[in-house]
Symmetry: D2
Subunit: 237 residues, 4 copies
């Protein structure tokens, strides 16, 4: 545990966010951000019970003022530790609705990740692993499909932002990467959803996803990945 650095996970819950928290907490104190404290409380408790360091912050990643307040508090509470790793895992409701019913407001890509960049830049010289901003996308990051134009628009925009940030801040030493998660995720609340015929390991395990995000963080700056796809071995694609 290197307490000179810490990690932030934006978008927490009992699925991927939780797995990221436990994975990163093996190496860094972790800050968990969610709109609802109920999303992170038990995770914080578990990490502490296992000897790790964790804190939760209630904030809305789509509200710049809320994020400013959250990051202000993080900087105070971290007593000079530096941000080494930020993960942005916003998995909104994938509402399936015909395009004609869309409203312009739906079409808004979250850029809360922006708030983490300045902090990551300050860690370039000192961090043992390249400071990283890792974003989780989905199948809809790569293709639009009928009835999912809002989801795809948001995920395409997120990919555009990730690519642009990667190209802008990579040469400054911050590793920005997108993880495209192409398949159903094996989370407790989706047990009833059968994918890939219900075969074993037919859904992505959050721990396995977290393992690949951690690998991205440890990549040497001579050999960075911009985009990583992840899908079950039985997935059609």
């Amino acid at each position: 545990m290197d307490k000179r650095f810490y990690a932030i996970i934006m978008g927490i819950g009992p699925g991927i966010g939780s797995a990221l928290a436990f994975q990163f907490a093996k190496f860094y104190p972790v800050v968990l951000i969610s709109r609802n404290s109920s999303s992170y409380e038990s995770i914080v408790t578990d990490i502490k019970a296992n000897g790790g360091h964790a804190m939760g912050i209630t904030a809305d990643a789509s509200d710049p003022n809320s994020m400013d307040a959250a990051f202000g508090r993080i900087e105070r509470d971290m007593h000079g530790a530096n941000l080494a790793l930020a993960a942005y895992n916003a998995r909104g409701p994938f509402a399936r609705k015909p395009f004609l019913e869309l409203k312009a407001e739906d079409l808004q890509a979250s850029i809360a990740a922006e708030a983490a960049i300045p902090l990551l830049l300050t860690s370039v010289q000192s961090s043992p692993n390249p400071p990283s901003l890792l974003v989780t996308g989905a199948t809809a990051s790569l293709r639009g499909s009928a009835f999912f134009s809002t989801v795809a628009a948001g995920k395409f925009a997120q990919r555009a932002v990730t690519q642009s940030l990667a190209r802008e801040f990579g040469p400054q030493g911050v590793h920005v990467a997108l993880v495209v998660i192409d398949g159903g995720i094996d989370v407790p609340w989706a047990k009833h959803i059968v994918t890939n015929g219900g075969v074993e390991d037919g859904k992505l395990k959050p721990d396995a996803i977290a393992s690949s995000l951690w690998h991205l963080h440890t990549q040497h700056r001579s050999s960075w990945t911009l985009e990583l796809d992840l899908r079950p071995y039985v997935e059609k694609f």
Copy 2:
């Protein structure tokens, strides 16, 4: 000139929009929509002087209320003619600014094109050419780059929407396609910008772009293009 049908061009001006208007006016009455009447007045005059039919409407494609009003007026003024072709050519200011200066408001994809879909659907049975929604994109539709994350986010989102609409409304008979314009455009106000070494035809001619959009409109429904790239013969890509 088939007056049972008409075309709409959203995003008009002395460049691509104007060329589209003249191209489409050879076959249909045209409706030109712009925020400023000064953008379409001389074009409307020219088309009429050449025996065509044209009308201009002042409206803001990013404001649903403004678009509702515009389309209401179009339906009244068209006396039962049907929409056969809609082109969406929004080429906003490609402001180059570092991501850290971005505001969330910048990251908004225009979906004014949405308003045209219901009208196009009503023309499927009668229109000699498949009713079409054609959208003009840019290099930034395909890749993010440093300092252009807002532009890319918007263009990626636009591409996502176009792909999604194509997959949703194609089987219903409406041809939705994206034209990716990869290069500088040969417009009067950009004469001073030298691209490709200033070589002849080193910028895209608006008339040539319009010709390819027209080709898309005339494609038989057995053989539609989803995405068309256009660039000068000397362009690096």
Copy 3:
């Protein structure tokens, strides 16, 4: 009919090749190349009966010596006319076989198109339309799939060659483009194959494909397309 120029179609038969021949013969004398004279004889007869100019040559596009001989004969017989348009439409047997049964010999991309480039280069100054090399690809040009590794390897390689040629010879004035045909083709011998539920226009019409290839040939050099996808309006993609 501009007899100072001619077109070549490599890969002829009663489907796309035939449609290309009739389309191009409206504008140029056409040379049809096939391994078997039976593939072109009736087409040549038909074109002549309609007042066009056509000749057939028996040659093997995968055999450099055979192609050399064929192009030698073409140059003699054309009496100084210049090549304005070459189409390469090799649609081999799409044998579905597991990879483990493949042989290395299967994995050979045809580069017969190469033979046409020097002739096209000589037409750059004089040809009214930019001299063009147009190649037809398939779904397998864009993605590999189980049991189709040989098909995909060949089509990927063909796409690589087309892209490379486009980038090398485009700035010299030769328009090289790939047409990705994504769907079943409506040819007489495939009437029994039901695609897209047998819906009307659910297969690509060869004439419609030919129309889009002709459009590519007529594109102004300021606005060229590198890659064009074509698929039926009802196609899933």
Copy 4:
């Protein structure tokens, strides 16, 4: 060291192949295949000196008979151990030559990797990590460019084969993936080639590449990557 399994590296030398050998030898006995014994002898010696297990085999990956003989010998010498990991790292001479000088023979994608699939399939049940076939590609895997049509054709074909194999054998439990290496590699014999302004870590370190290949091998089958890009933090792309 798990001696019930072993790894094969096809394409060995003092760069990536050597790094792969040392990385994999931490976990498995390794078999190194090259056309010349001088390519692997010192690596075998080094691995043994460090307590690992290694053997070299002279064979030509483009010759099916040679590969058959090599794999026959491997199976004999491995005394019932199973193949858990095969890496195919063919980095031929990237000759820059105009397309018109190409010969058809150049355009041949290597499919030596095919030989490894049956052996990997036998390890699915027993191997602690999913048996893996990992292939190294290059920038030319993703785009053709002027003067590099042969390189691109080969790399495109290789990508097609890798994708097809991934889709065919993934559901059977074999992880097939492509690593796209986009940049110059920091190898002894290329020290004189300056890339990215000669900045530190401006070339890919073979050890870093090997680390990412190893990560692919350890990915849980619920969350596999098909394609991984790697490039220096300062690389333009």
